[in-house]
Symmetry: C2
Subunit: 379 residues, 2 copies
């Protein structure tokens, strides 16, 4: 959710500082995702392509099963139809979450577990997209994956209803899945939805408060609920579908959560200092919107003159002339360094959790590649 919505944007490489842990886990095998055939090209890109190939037919069939009024909005949202119902090329995002489900299943149970988890991967992707539909309504966002958001095309009511229907469809798929792990997966996914809601609530509530009223723990908690929770849940469900023991499921959840937080930290850094040519939004867009992103809150809560200067700037309406000064104040107050160090720390924790649950590098390689991909370390 949040910044993670902009998943189709390009990120500059190398934003995350290197850690020794990352190097230790470099994949050594070529077949690291349990998918069919050998890998060619960058691992994560190949994994994601294979995931789309596995997931899209099931996802499409699930959406086609919806009654016409819900199907229309859903197929538009997923990029498979134009507003008038004619077919579109499709741009349903990168499928990071289904990739985590399938790659986690493969890490514990090989290709058979991966194949058995496709329906669960579809369920996770449906939940993600239900939250996107609703978040766009609440945030009045007008663009999603380079197209007008569903509520701008169909109105608030239909966007809300389509989101409701996608949540129901996700949990229906799991309830109808005869796999022995499907019930535990449904309980986990439903619990995750509640956490996603608290994250979105915290985000919208914080945007209404003054910049001096927000603590760093609070904004980290929000990011974990809004972005980390579903990545963790996706990994945990993959592990469940492979019959992994409870402690490994828990470790995989933590892996996904930490990687998700690392992603969010890097994404927030890019939202201030990123290259507009790569990110698709002007550098400083988050500052212009007075967004209380992670580096900004870290800077604001750091004490000292730069923090005070930033707070004063944030209290004033946006002025283009102040953009440079604002970014500089965040940097001088330590916001950038903190965010990058935190991101590295989170990735290190993610790697530890992964190594605990999946000690063999050839089995862990796919998940590692995906974690690096979402934080744009490689790619």
């Amino acid at each position: 959710m949040g910044e993670f919505m902009t998943e189709t944007q390009q990120r500059p490489a190398g934003a995350l500082p290197s850690t020794e842990t990352l190097e230790r886990h470099r994949p050594i095998a070529t077949d690291i995702d349990g998918g069919p055939g050998p890998l060619e090209g960058p691992e994560a890109v190949v994994i994601l392509e294979r995931v789309r190939a596995s997931v899209d037919p099931e996802l499409r069939a699930a959406l086609e099963s919806l009654p016409p009024s819900m199907r229309r909005v859903a197929l538009y949202h997923f990029g498979w139809e134009h507003p008038d119902g004619t077919p579109a090329a499709g741009n349903a995002g990168k499928a990071i979450r289904p990739a985590l489900v399938l790659t986690a299943a493969a890490a514990f149970g090989g290709p058979a577990a991966r194949a058995a988890a496709v329906r669960a991967a579809v369920a996770v992707e449906l939940v993600h997209n239900f939250t996107l539909l609703h978040d766009d309504v609440m945030d009045r966002d007008t663009l999603r994956r380079h197209r007008p958001t569903a509520w701008t095309v169909f109105g608030d009511a239909d966007a809300i209803l389509a989101g409701d229907a996608l949540q129901a469809l996700a949990l229906r798929l799991l309830a109808e899945d005869p796999h022995p792990a499907s019930t535990a997966a449904a309980a986990r996914l439903a619990a995750c939805v509640i956490e996603l809601c608290t994250g979105q609530h915290a985000d919208t509530a914080m945007e209404k408060r003054g910049p001096g009223d927000i603590g760093l723990d609070e904004v980290l908690g929000m990011a974990e609920a809004k972005t980390g929770a579903l990545l963790g849940c996706a990994c945990a469900i993959g592990a469940l579908y492979a019959g992994a023991p409870e402690e490994d499921v828990t470790a995989l959840d933590a892996f996904g959560r930490e990687a998700g937080l690392a992603f969010q930290l890097i994404d927030d850094v890019i939202g201030i200092w990123g290259d507009p040519g790569h990110t698709g939004k002007p550098a400083g867009a988050d500052l212009a919107a007075r967004k209380k992103s992670l580096p900004v809150v870290a800077a604001l809560t750091s004490g000292g003159p730069a923090a005070a200067e930033l707070a004063a700037l944030y209290e004033m309406p946006y002025d283009k002339e102040d953009l440079q000064a604002t970014a500089l104040a965040v940097e001088r107050a330590g916001g950038r360094d903190w965010a990058q160090a935190q991101a590295a720390d989170r990735m290190a924790r993610a790697m530890q959790e992964l190594a605990r649950a999946v000690p063999e590098p050839e089995q862990a390689g796919g998940l590692l590649a995906l974690a690096e991909y979402v934080t744009r370390r490689s790619n």
Copy 2:
């Protein structure tokens, strides 16, 4: 949903014409709902009181398990808290749907089945309330159970999120319920949510269209999806929890659907000709709002001069002077007679489905009493 939201309003007795079928099924036993102790007072009222006593502790515990930000909105919506979080007397509606779950379970499996179905009854009630929260946002309704709607108190975003969380909580309860029927119930409930969404979509879409563009089948289909589907689902889930065979589950679903349609027809009649002292809203409120309710659409599609007169009146903005003439036009075009005959027909069909699945009157008595109650025939 829709008019069924106003479930705490009083309806005049005797709105539904008597049918022979109803008489045939008058309960002959005193313990018709599988609840503890003998019945005293009107059957349905006693059943509903017992259901509240069984369901409220579990419902409350489920809501208390929500994170604070979601819990706050939910407890307010259910009437257990004031907006500031202080305790309130509580007015969570009449619990018709949980009553149908528990009474259907008792009809097939007696007190043990009724006791085992409490969690499922809570899940159904959570789904109903999730739709109320969202419908109020979409319809901009400002009152619910005599209190300001959640979105007017907490804003659109929190009302949408609390609704999302209640849907997730409902399906989480079922996923965590070890009862052998819980997975089938979850699949059924999730499918029902999708149908509810189509009903609400049809309702909002129809309100935007001209009165001449709406067919009778269309508005009946909308009412079935919006009101009948969840009543049918509640009955079916109760039967599932009692281990009833598939054909009886199907019959119970049909029973709830038909009773729900009968309710909607009677409710629409009252929305035009009802006694304001009983209904809590002025007579003709639906006409003033230019609502395309069932009797109105029946009148509009009847052909003849009264239909044309009504169409002309509906095209014009509301004028208090025209109210009497509008109601008279609906009546002269046959809208009232049609609605009452349809309601009787639907109740007869409901009774047939019930008799098919539960031939023994002493077992069917509770469900019969509830069906009569929602259509306000007795009480």
